[in-house]
Every structure is written in C-alpha cells, then in structure tokens.
Symmetry: none
Subunit: 251 residues, 2 copies
Amino acid sequence: MPIRFILCEPSHPGNIGAAARAMKTMGFSQLVLVNPPEGHPDPAARARASGALDVLEAATLRGSLAEAVADCGLVIGASARHRRLGIAELEPRECAQQLLAAAASGPVALVFGTERSGLSNAQLDLCHALVSIPANPEYSSLNLAAAVQLLAWELREAQGTTLDTPPAESPPATIEDMEIFYEHLQRVLDASGFLDPGNPRQLMRRLRRLFNRTRPDQNELNILRGILASLAPGSGRRDWRGMPADDGESP
Amino acid sequence: MPIRFILCEPSHPGNIGAAARAMKTMGFSQLVLVNPPEGHPDPAARARASGALDVLEAATLRGSLAEAVADCGLVIGASARHRRLGIAELEPRECAQQLLAAAASGPVALVFGTERSGLSNAQLDLCHALVSIPANPEYSSLNLAAAVQLLAWELREAQGTTLDTPPAESPPATIEDMEIFYEHLQRVLDASGFLDPGNPRQLMRRLRRLFNRTRPDQNELNILRGILASLAPGSGRRDWRGMPADDGESP
C-alpha cells in the first residue's frame, strides 16, 4: 500500500521511533522525515521504535516537504486546529477512505507538522486537504505518535470497507505538475496586472487552496494550462482546437 | 462519562503520563493505577502527560485490580493476543459500544495489563470480555499509551460527537452564482479562441466538473471573476489591487 507517512521537522527523537512503531503495528512501512534532528536515528528513537527498528532505519530523509511529496497524487495534512483557510477538513474516516482510493493510482502522503506548531503555511500550500481529529475542546493536543497511531488505525480499518472506485480517466496531477501550473498562473496574473507584484503571496495562496481542493487530473490540468496560454496578455487569437479538451468524452 | 481507564502494574512512567494525555484528548479523566512503579508520579510521567497533568495527578492508586473494579458493572480487558479462554473477544468498535451502553447505569472499566506480558490469568478472571486491536500479524505490539489512545478514540467516536465545523469565512457560492461565473468563463474563452464555437459543450462540461468539485465560496468566486476580467482579450493592464483577494487573511 503506497501510503507515505511524512514527519516534518520532528523535534523529539522519541516521537520518531514511536511513530515508526505505530505505523508498523498497522502494516505501514514508508516513513519519510523532513529535516529530522541532528544525529538521527537517536538512541531514544531506537528505544521507542521497539520492534519497528526496520521501519525507523529505512526512513527516507528529505530537505523539504515539496521534495517529499513531489510524485504524490494526494497529500493530506494532519492539523489540530480549525484553520479557516479554504482547505477541506476531513475526519479521520473520510481521510482514510480518500487516501486508500487515491493510493490505487500512485503514491499518496499523510503529513504531520512539527510538534509545537504543526504545519507551516508553505507546507499547507502543498496539501489537498487536512485531516482533523475530533478531540476534547478543552485539550485537543494529541502526541505526534498517538496521532500517527490513530490515523494508521483508521487506514487499516478502512481497507476492509472501501468502495470500489472506478479507475480515473486520467492519472491525478502530481504536486510537481501543480507547482508548474501555479508558476504559470502567477506569470500570467503578473503580466495582466491582477497580481500585486509587491505582495503576490496572499492571492496565490488563496488560488492554491481553491485549485488543490479540486484535485485535477492530468487532462484537466492541461486544459487549465491551455486556457492560461490562450488568455495570457499578448497571446494573439489562435485556433486552440485539438487541445486535450476535445479528447473524446461523449457529451 | 463514568469510564475508568485502569493500568495494571505499568512499568514505564513515561507510558503512564502518555496514557493520561491520550485519555484527556478524548475527554476522559478517570485514571486508576494498580501498583504503579515506586516514586509515582515520576518526572518522566509528568513530562509525557504534557497538558494532562491534572489527570495524572488525580489518578487513583489501588493495590489490586479486584479493588479497582469492585463497583463496576462491566470490565473489558485489552489483550493483544487471541487467548482462547472462553472470554468474548470484541473489536474496538464493539467494545466502545458495550462500554457506553453499560456506563449509562454505573461505573465501567477498560483494563490494560503490564507492558511486557499483559493481563495475568487472575486479572483476566475479572474481565467480562476482552478487546483486541486488529493489527499487523507480523508485529502487533502497540505501545501501551498508543492502545489507550486508540480505544479512547473509539469511545469518543461511539458517543457520536462530531467535529464542530467553523463557520465559513464567506458563504458558499450558490448555483446561480456559479451559472453567472460559467457564462463569464465561456464568454472569455470564446473571445480568446480557446473554445470551439461550433461545439463549446464538451469543454464547458469538463470545466464545470472541475470547478464544481472545489465548491468555491463567494470570495473565491469573486477572485476567479476578477481574474477572468483581467485576462479577457482586449482588457488593458489595470490596477486590480483592492479586489477581495486582499481582504486580510494574514499570511
């Protein structure tokens, strides 16, 4: 099951080991660490990994979340807070079903932020959706490895119960494809004057959230990029027929 | 909710603190320790309890499981193994339902054995049923606090609590709003030559599916329409600052 568990800047080695153990008990083994603490794997990580030392030792290290999810078709970030950012917020059971359905066509990722502050805005920009664990409103702070255990459990439970989803018409756009699209979009909006060149981030963040929610497939992304090319200031009127939009779904 | 979490002879203080934290995140507070290690509560327990120090400090200490469950109407023991003992073995969801149903008429208990060997035969004799967590057959050993987290989560889920969803930042776009957007989009794509005027339906259908999936709110739809206006063939370069995109979500 190509489900990647990604820990971003984990600060406590013990949590890394405990997360590896939690994953393995539920049958998962792909652990990715984005900038783990120096000296990884620490003795505390090894002790808490217990019988999951193999998962800990096989963990892949990456320098950024963007690198870690570049080839993923679905990225869901674990978030304790209600963020009101226009990113879909799933409950653990829905999260599990969506990850399993998407994992049928390629790698997917479940992403955990650093212990104290969670995912950064730049990391959230790479997420298609968030998963939030309903918890005690007076104290909702699960330990990192406990959150991994709970979501891995729901994934294991959901494997028995997921519906057969029809194969996608076209493979999902990967994070890398989406980055190329966002660069293109930003270039075009810049040229049109829509984007404030002094502060493009705010608007681009909103647009990312909007388009991430829709999880375009490759064909759809090609259509969007075709539209951008046709509308870019300075592009003359051209004949765009024959673009992927015309590739034959019956009306 | 009178559900007691009982840890029998826990050997690692860190696990006691982490169990208290796991309980509190799911809204439970009755922790009972049967023969905890000397020096309880240890600094390691306090550190791992984090914001659940109150639960840790209020833990009741007992000299035997029999004492700890004397007034309970239902006692379920957590067991990793299939024991073939003639005790009913429940899955976590059934366990949660039974505990909640029985808790309506008095105290009930969920009991965890010592880390290395689980519940003793004498302790099993006090259990009405066992709960077993389905896990990886090659490595099924959950950490004690991880098991507490998972079963507490199932109890909370069984209570039917739902996620409080935050009020939307802006009301969702209505079907009517979306129709106006699609007309605008079609006009602009027509003018750019991207749309085949002889057969616009195919492409427009695809774009509708793409944008319907993302379920934009009113603000987002205003941004999209602003972009269309700024990119429409013939629109000069204008200053679009002050559009709803800039309405103040902090970066």
